[in-house]
């Protein structure tokens, strides 16, 4: 902050390259927004990209180096090269690919069904305040329930096959999705409902033409959390019981003390979860566009 000076400030404070304010009506703000922003933007974007790559390389190179010269114990920390090697072995000789498919499968199934069911449930609360009021605490309890600790009970309820993982992923997502949708329902602009009534609409029409589209951004906003939850559900499900899956692989690697393989599992999961995250972001964009939803 010492380097701060008036002259540059005039250019620099442009809250500028931030995301533009929700409603564009705010002229005073907009006007100081993008002065020469484009050029600077480009430069900064290049700098950011370079920075990211550099930091990434540093992290991995440092890791490799430190484990080689022994500053980090390679037994626990493994090393990028070892991890890559193990991943290759597991991919070609082991079952890594099958495991990934298995885990992704149950995650996606649980995610889709859970989100849809939850959304419908949440939307249904619009129909009756009494019904919604009665259900609310049970939703919260379900949400609070530590599904991870339910191991034995889950095995009884859903068995030990693929289905049980999908169910766990479903359970993890359905509640948040319902809570989000309910949040949307609660926030519906009463003026829009009034408008519909003034046009002689029936409740069903108010629901389909106002409540549902209005709540879409809320439902969509739960997607990102849900994909992570669904993945966690699948993995915990695999921790508890499984014949396949990345979760099983990690548990297995732990028991045979193959730290390399643990790291492979960790990385595969990270990559998987990031891929799914991106997928969801694309889905969000697509949905938002299709539904012409303007920032909630």
């Amino acid at each position: 902050m010492d380097a701060y000076n008036q002259e540059s400030y005039c250019g620099a404070v442009r809250p500028a390259e931030r995301e533009s304010p929700k409603k564009e009506e705010d002229d005073a703000a907009r006007s100081i927004e993008t002065y020469d922003g484009e050029l600077q933007d480009k430069k900064r974007r290049r700098r950011v990209l370079a920075g990211r790559i550099l930091v990434g390389i540093f992290l991995f190179a440092g890791w490799e180096l430190f484990t080689r010269i022994g500053w980090m114990d390679p037994y626990y920390w493994s090393s990028p090269s070892e991890i890559l090697k193990t991943a290759w072995v597991q991919l070609t000789e082991g079952t890594l690919l099958r495991d990934i498919v298995y885990t992704s499968g149950s995650t996606v199934i649980g995610f889709v069904t859970g989100t849809l069911t939850g959304a419908l449930l949440g939307l249904s609360f619009w129909w009756s305040k009494t019904y919604a009021g009665i259900s609310e605490p049970f939703l919260i309890i379900l949400n609070a329930l530590p599904k991870l600790a339910l191991g034995p009970v889950l095995v009884i309820l859903f068995g030990i096959g693929f289905f049980s993982k999908a169910v766990l992923a479903f359970l993890m997502t359905v509640v948040t999705s319902a809570i989000s949708a309910y949040g949307g329902v609660k926030s519906v602009d009463p003026a829009l409902e009034t408008l519909m009534v003034s046009l002689g609409a029936k409740r069903r029409q108010v629901f389909t033409k106002v409540v549902v589209p209005w709540s879409m951004p809320w439902i969509i906003s739960s997607l990102r959390i849900n994909i992570a939850l669904a993945l966690a559900g699948s993995i915990v499900g695999e921790f508890i019981s499984s014949e396949q899956g990345v979760g099983r692989m990690i548990i297995y690697a732990g028991t045979i003390l193959d730290i390399n393989l643990v790291w492979v599992g960790v990385f595969v999961l990270s990559i998987l979860s990031m891929l799914m995250y991106w997928g969801v972001i694309l889905l969000e964009k697509w949905l938002s566009k299709r539904l012409a939803i303007i920032s909630s």
Partner: protein, 321 residues
């Protein structure tokens, strides 16, 4: 038997439609269960018209899975079966042995060793030590407590037990000084030795002799209604147990297939120790002593109260046929 001509691998899928699908639940994926994997890989099950799938189920759920009917059978200690049979109207019964020794070893940080193997020296050595014992309720933990009690030590007061859920963490804990003594089996032992954290185990629970550490069990109702399948399964297991004893090379090959990321050294160490300590039952028979020792451990550690009977826990009719 539908197929004759035992092909060593599983390429022949010819009569797959007629194979009976069975699921066996295992608490962990362990080299100790090698005979089971051998029967899978070498096609012994298929020869019997069975298609056996092994599913990992942790935290006690391997037994629950059988009770709920999701798994046909379970591989695990007679102790876990006894626990699972409490209040259960359709008890689980052991039908075939697999691991006939308590596959747990105690090791101490390098430089620390009891003066001798005698009970008195052992007691003196263990007193006041911090022991990384594995999660409470698990076999290694219970065996350690059992030993302490037998030595006249109170597990809660005379030593400090650290109860890690993940067996693999023992290496880190002893290395970091979080513990003086640890328990475990292969591949941990070999791992610690090669890293110089500990030396050879100073106490082997395998010395307890016959111990029903891992047996194949199914529901009583399965035995009553479908004894034919049980018989086929046990026959295949017996064949595998014998093959493991006879053909060390084949054992090594299957182990390598099941645990592809294990190094050559680790596999060799595991096998050597297993053969040396007579880990695997040669014939599938569960002796009364094996169950008694196991149950004695449960009773002494206070996990199990009440009585049990060998007859309800074990049914040797298929092995003996």
């Amino acid at each position: 038997a539908l197929l004759t001509g035992c092909s060593p691998s599983m390429q022949t899928q010819g009569g797959s439609t007629e194979l009976k699908k069975l699921v066996i639940a295992e608490p962990v994926h362990l080299s100790g269960y090698l005979p089971l994997y051998v029967a899978q890989h070498e096609g012994y099950f298929k020869d019997q018209g069975l298609d056996v799938k092994v599913i990992q189920a942790t935290g006690g759920t391997h037994v629950t899975a059988v009770v709920s009917g999701d798994a046909w059978g379970v591989i695990g200690g007679v102790d876990s079966i006894a626990l699972g049979n409490k209040n259960n109207s359709d008890p689980i019964t052991a039908v075939c042995n697999c691991v006939n020794r308590a596959n747990v070893y105690l090791f101490a940080k390098t430089g620390m060793v009891p003066k001798s193997g005698s009970e008195a020296d052992l007691k003196e050595f263990l007193k006041g030590k911090t022991i990384v014992a594995g999660r409470h309720g698990g076999s290694p933990n219970l065996l350690t407590r059992y030993l302490l009690i037998n030595l006249g030590l109170d597990p809660e007061k005379d030593v400090h037990l650290i109860e890690n859920a993940d067996a693999s963490t023992v290496v880190a804990m002893l290395q970091n000084g979080n513990g003086d003594v640890g328990n475990g089996a292969e591949p941990q032992i070999c791992e610690g030795i090669s890293k110089g954290i500990w030396g050879e185990p100073f106490y082997k629970f395998t010395d307890l002799g016959d111990f029903s550490y891992s047996v194949i069990s199914v529901k009583k109702s399965t035995i009553d209604k479908d004894s034919e399948t049980v018989q086929k399964f046990v026959s295949a297991m017996k064949k595998a147990l014998k093959a493991v004893q006879d053909d060390h090379e084949m054992a090594k090959k299957v182990l390598k297939q099941e645990f592809p990321t294990l190094s050559e050294d680790e596999i060799k160490a595991s096998l050597d120790r297993a053969y040396a300590d007579h880990l695997w039952s040669p014939d599938g028979v569960i002796s009364e002593k094996a169950v008694t020792t196991d149950m004695d451990m449960l009773l002494k550690t206070g996990i199990y109260s009440g009585s049990y009977s060998f007859q309800t826990l074990v049914d040797m009719q298929f092995v003996n046929k």
